[in-house]
């Protein structure tokens, strides 16, 4: 029972940050049909920005609770700046090109952004443990857990709820769905598609940044951060179905729990289990377990 609860909580914690990052990736894919490799860099930039300022503010003697504000601010600033600059500066000129070529362009961007991190933040790892220390720890299932890690699950739930509300209950969401289903139709209906693209990309980038910023206090923020997370989120969106928020949620829960199970019961398979699932899903259900319905075009 203790083991079960522990695996569940470990898994959900891992799923949570994967979901936040993947939600951004999948929204961008759903609307713009861009598989954005540079998304890993948004995550890394979010983590670095948050960790850097949490440390700076703490050194200046500000209360540690500021950390939470910094996390949110870091995600928004990173998403706004990187999202806007990349969409307007580069991607805008590529929409008529081949999908795969756009993936490659984002890979080039990824390489560039990774090194700008090194130049901007240096190579020393950052530790922004203050928010985690602030929230203390509790005993759950016979072991001690940090409360901060548990709040991660709540934040992911909030993000999921927010996305659902935005898509289904607002006028914006209706527009977005119109563009997702049929771009040309959207244009002819008078939707400002370029604006939708820009805002979507920025929104996705903010989610990528938020994933990084929120996880930052619990990890060592060091170079190479984005390399692993991007393939993990690829796995998540593939398993769940590319372009679907619900899919990203299911995908991250499956992958998070499987990985936690592996670490506890069979540590040797921890790394490959994620990708084995991804490959199996691609082989038997290439559209993913929860792909959005595809309209038929005549």
């Amino acid at each position: 029972m203790e083991t079960f609860l522990t695996i569940l909580l470990d898994g959900l914690q891992f799923s949570s940050y994967l979901f936040i990052v993947s939600a951004g990736l999948t929204i961008i894919f759903g609307v713009m049909k861009i598989l954005n490799v540079a998304h890993g860099s948004f995550y890394a930039w979010g983590a670095y920005t948050a960790a850097f300022f949490i440390g700076k503010f703490s050194d200046m003697g500000m209360p540690d609770a500021m950390g939470f504000l910094i996390i949110i601010a870091a995600a928004i600033v990173v998403g706004l700046i990187l999202g806007f600059v990349i969409e307007q500066g580069i991607l805008k000129y590529m929409y008529h090109r081949d999908e795969v070529l756009i993936v490659l362009a984002t890979f080039g961007l990824f390489l560039v952004l990774e090194d700008i991190i090194l130049i901007a933040f240096g190579t020393d790892p950052y530790f922004a443990y203050q928010p985690m220390a602030l929230l203390d720890s509790v005993e759950l299932g016979g072991i001690i857990r940090d409360v901060y890690g548990l709040t991660l699950i709540a934040v992911a739930a909030l993000v999921a709820l927010g996305c659902w509300y935005l898509l289904n209950k607002t006028k914006w969401g209706t527009l977005l769905k119109a563009v997702i289903y049929d771009r040309e139709m959207g244009i002819s209906m008078g939707i400002n598609v370029p604006l939708v693209y820009t805002l979507t990309f920025i929104g996705g980038a903010i989610l990528g940044g938020l994933g990084g910023a929120y996880i930052a206090p619990t990890i060592s923020v060091a170079p190479g951060l984005g390399t692993e997370v991007i393939v993990l989120s690829f796995a998540v969106v593939v398993v769940g179905g590319m372009g679907s928020i619900a899919g990203a949620a299911i995908g991250s829960i499956i992958i998070g729990i499987l990985r936690a199970l592996a670490v506890h019961e069979l540590p040797q398979v921890e790394l490959f289990v994620v990708f084995a699932v991804m490959a199996v899903v691609l082989v038997f259900r290439p559209e993913g377990l929860f792909a959005p319905a595809k309209p038929r075009k005549i």
Partner: protein, 313 residues
């Protein structure tokens, strides 16, 4: 088979490079060995790319080829350069042929992603398995040629260059056959190709298998030139990205392009790393973006333009 301009150029260039290599300093010979080893995989990716397929997971076959050499070396003490090359190409080619039955039905991003997934499965296994060298990988003993252990790297360089020449000639020939020509046609309209009485699945399967044999051979040659294999620089997804990067850099225009592109890549990387060790990825990424934006035909198209101007066309 050898009448066309490309074949003549490949033969002539190969001989010239082999002769020049005898007088070149070691580090330049090294650059050529690394460059030409990688070029083999690029030739394969180029064949796929012409059909509109981009694999973001060919490090799987590259890694299989490299690890085949390592395992043969450690388990059986096989050091012969030809046996090693053959093993690498065969293992990768067999895997590619079998997986091809599945992959030939995939296009676009799904094709790219399934390849990524497969390569990452291998990555996860190798990294976590101590008997496969885990993160460290293996050192590979010097290759022998028919039982003789060469004193210098030059013989291996000659072999790699020759293998490159043969591969380039064969692929060049293949691209002129009917199935080989089914590239742009498939990319543009598969149904039309089917109506013409060709099997798209078969055509793609063949191209895929060719690309995996070449990638495996490339991995084997790279392992021998470097004397080392490890998962991070042989199997991880970033390696697949690197391979695609060189493919785009080279351009799909001609089988010679991958060899030139790989050399440029090797030199670019060496100097980027020497001059700006903290910014070499940035330099590579920026080059990549520049190529995608301003030179969609890669270096080859640039050479063609220059050549065209000289001829007054």
């Amino acid at each position: 088979m050898l009448e066309d301009k490309t074949s003549k150029f490949v033969l002539f260039g190969g001989v010239l490079i082999i002769l020049a290599g005898a007088f070149a300093p070691n580090w330049i010979v090294n650059q050529f060995m690394f460059g030409f080893s990688r070029a083999l995989a690029i030739v394969g990716l180029m064949v796929l790319w012409r059909t509109g397929l981009v694999s973001f997971g060919h490090a799987f076959y590259f890694g299989l080829g490299a690890y085949a050499v390592a395992i043969l070396d450690i388990q059986l003490g096989v050091t012969d350069v030809f046996l090693r090359l053959l093993a690498g190409a065969l293992v990768a080619g067999l895997a590619g042929f079998l997986l091809g039955f599945i992959l030939r039905n995939y296009r676009d991003i799904f094709f790219a992603m399934l390849n990524t997934a497969i390569s990452m499965v291998l990555f996860g296994i190798v990294v976590k398995t101590e008997s496969l060298g885990s993160t460290d990988g293996f050192a590979i003993s010097m290759s022998t040629i028919f039982g003789l252990a060469p004193e210098t790297k030059y013989p291996l360089f000659v072999i790699i260059t020759s293998v490159g020449v043969i591969a380039a000639l064969l692929v060049n020939y293949y691209l002129k056959t009917t199935y080989g020509r089914l590239t742009t046609a498939i990319r543009d309209n598969e149904i039309r190709v089917e109506y013409l009485g060709f099997s798209v699945a078969h055509a793609i399967h063949l191209k895929y298998t060719i690309s995996t044999i070449l990638a495996g051979g490339a991995g084997a040659l790279m392992a021998m030139s470097l004397g080392q294999v490890d998962p991070e620089s042989m199997i991880n997804w970033t390696v697949s990205g690197e391979l695609v990067f060189v493919t785009i850099l080279s351009g799909p225009g001609n089988v010679i392009a991958p060899f030139i592109g790989s050399l440029v890549f090797e030199v670019l990387r060496t100097y980027a790393f020497e001059l700006a060790p903290q910014a070499w990825q940035l330099i590579m990424g920026a080059t990549f973006l520049t190529i995608i934006f301003f030179l969609p035909g890669g270096i080859w198209s640039l050479l063609e333009k220059l050549g065209g101007r000289k001829n007054g066309k």
